[in-house]
Symmetry: C2
Subunit: 431 residues, 2 copies
């Protein structure tokens, strides 16, 4: 659908357009209130939300059961159903998630790089909220709570658009959060859940550039591609992770085995799991047989290049599609490469700028990999699984951005803020 034709081609959607615009305007209005809150008030609000969620857990579980039953009836199963399903323990995780965000330092109001200019003017950059954050996500209802907590703590209003499968769960969660807002005499529009499951609502939200400052898109490639084409609101893309580990000729093969196994097997369904293993040809013959057996024993299907298959006979052949694949499951592509340059060239061609790792004891090779490989995180002698807000010291995160502008890598509280220059003068003028 073309950007400018949304309105003309969909006269039936005019009501929806007006509804989304109203939501966005109200969120903008609420954002001015939120920007002025001090940390103590925001922390007390998050505590109130945590308590509300503890008290309301039966309501949440009941709504979730209804979502899960409908999902089962419509044939949803496996990982998707698992992500949709809440239980006592998952609700407790949401509650402790709220308290974790409460405990994080508030970035708003910080002033960085304050300096005295030659004319005596003091200048620095003050952290300020972005304003209004739109958040489009899929089935997991806990994202409703996590995203709201991070947005509120950083002084932003948030407009949430969850998956339709979780609509009852999301609705009751939003209601509980809004009860807490009311107790603090704050506008409910500080956290809005878009009530309709009409898919057009996403595109309409993505065009509210007058009122929405950024849209965080967590979803499949189709969603992200549509938003890239249609959005006039800037996007933070939580893109796919085609992550590599390169085991260099001078790798410590003990470390390499642990890192490769961890990167693939620890949690294969997440974006920072390894999808392709690159092995230097000088050590492929020594390294591949052992790690292959260990991975296969853990249920990993291996798909290799010709050279890898010559070393590990049981390996299936990898096709061109395998090098670009984000499996998100127990499948691993394996390629033997002649040197560091070939590894970097492979990553540049097939990587998704998410997470890249090298295992080597060679200092110069490590430094070259660190400098020349472009990705949101580049790691030496560590598992790709470390590209994560908690692991990198940011605390809770709202997603991992694979783009270069504003925020790259895990999106924590600081990434949900902007800065403004502040100047403290005593009468300075330009001459």
């Amino acid at each position: 659908m073309a950007k400018s034709s949304v309105r003309e081609e969909q006269p039936a959607g005019e009501d929806l357009r007006q509804e989304i615009e109203k939501i966005a305007m109200a969120a903008r209005e609420a954002s001015h209130r939120l920007a002025g809150l001090d940390s103590e008030t925001k922390n007390a609000l998050l505590e109130e939300m945590a308590k509300g969620l503890e008290e309301g857990r039966e309501e949440v579980l009941a709504a979730n059961r209804a979502d899960v039953e409908e999902a089962k009836r419509s044939g949803i199963g496996g990982a998707l159903l698992d992500r949709l399903t809440l239980n006592e323990s998952r609700v407790r995780d949401m509650v402790s998630g709220l308290r974790e965000v409460k405990a994080l330092p508030d970035p708003v109001g910080e002033i960085e790089g304050m300096q005295r200019r030659p004319n005596g003017l003091m200048v620095g950059r003050m952290r300020v909220p972005l304003g209004v954050i739109g958040m489009v996500f899929e089935a997991r209802p806990n994202v409703t709570v996590d995203a709201a907590a991070l947005c509120l703590k950083s002084g932003n209003a948030v407009i949430l658009r969850g998956g339709s499968e979780a609509r009852r769960s999301n609705a009751i969660l939003a209601t509980i959060l809004q009860r807490a807002l009311r107790k603090f005499d704050l506008p409910g529009a500080a956290v809005t859940l878009i009530p309709t499951t009409d898919r057009a609502a996403v595109t309409l939200l993505a065009r509210q550039d007058k009122y929405v400052d950024v849209l965080i898109a967590r979803g499949g490639e189709g969603l992200i591609h549509t938003l890239e084409q249609e959005a006039t609101v800037p996007l933070f893309k939580h893109g796919k992770g085609v992550c590599h580990t390169f085991v260099d000729a001078r790798a410590d093969l003990g470390k390499a085995g642990e890192i490769v196994f961890n990167a693939k097997v620890h949690r294969p369904g997440v974006c920072n799991a390894m999808e392709t293993l690159l092995v230097h040809e000088q050590i492929a013959g020594v390294f591949l047989p052992g790690i292959s057996a260990r991975l296969q024993k853990a249920g990993v299907e291996l798909r290799g290049c010709e050279k890898a298959r010559a070393i590990v006979p049981g390996m299936l052949p990898a096709t061109e599609e395998d090098w670009a694949a984000e499996y998100l499951s127990l499948i691993l592509a394996v390629r033997v490469v002649p040197d560091l340059n070939a590894a970097i060239a492979h990553i540049r061609r097939y990587g998704s700028l998410h997470t890249e790792a090298i295992v080597t004891e060679d200092y110069s090779i490590a430094m070259r990999f660190l400098r020349e490989v472009d990705a949101s995180a580049v790691l030496v002698n560590a598992s790709t699984r470390f590209n994560d807000g908690g692991q990198l010291g940011l605390g809770a995160e709202i997603g991992i951005s694979t783009q270069k502008l504003h925020a790259r890598g895990p999106l924590g509280l600081r990434e949900l803020t902007s800065t403004k220059f502040v100047g403290l003068g005593n009468g300075q003028i330009r001459s």
Copy 2:
């Protein structure tokens, strides 16, 4: 024009589309070379460019004379003609601009916030170039040289699209810069000037999201609006500046007079010049007569609200349009407001998030203004003219961004970079 219809509706433009894509691809390729250059090489390249420009100044002036003659024939005059015109002194300014950028510290490779995680993994954020920067600008040919210098120093390739009036001047400047690139055996695609003056080229460039990382738009509201609607490449908007100065009841009226006069008169045609003066009603009767006379003597036309006109009888009445106007000339809107809240509300309603200043000796009022007013720069007791890369300590700038994401305020070298997380481990895995 709708985003997705560019190709279908303009079969005649297919050649142009292919040409722009080819330019973008070549720039992406060149960007990998540039990202790997050390500061010494980049500085030597900038020095070579400075020398080339000194030696080629006759070529530049001849090309510029042809542009100026054509502009005169087509009826262009005044400020536009002035901005287009080069002379010996302006060429010297470009040469020294190159040397100023050469002298600035190179942000690429810096690592910020390196910390040791509990598991021993060292993590920090390394500054890296953005990659490929598109730059769309209007008549001033010096932007060609300034933009190229800043992009190259920060390790980026740049694609330039200047105004058609300056096409001969821009072409010879780009040729001179490319001669220097060749001497260093660097690809000419590191600095490309889009040769055609076809306006469709701008939209086509704005859709090369596969190869271009950001588009900097310096131009009129029409250009920026079109790009907001059509671009799939992220934008840095050099938006308009409707800048205010609020003279509070507790202002030092001596400072206030100097600051107001400077903000309006020092250089009225630039974006950080003041366009509206807000005056607290308690001091309006004392302050307005003197400053009005001084401004009028300097040729400033005053347009005021009822209360201001009651104090300064010669003042024209201000209309609703005046409050939103970016005059860029010797006109000033004047409004008397009852208090700080009214001043902040006026700025929120009519301001363009560019530069806002207060004059006051009241500490609490100053702090509230600093915190509650949202703009790329907020100043206390200083002229709005200080929102400038040089004045804020950033060195040379490529524009002033009025958006909140990635870069807000003057765009210096650091704003032309991104970061990547780097992790130095010794075998860490997630458990």
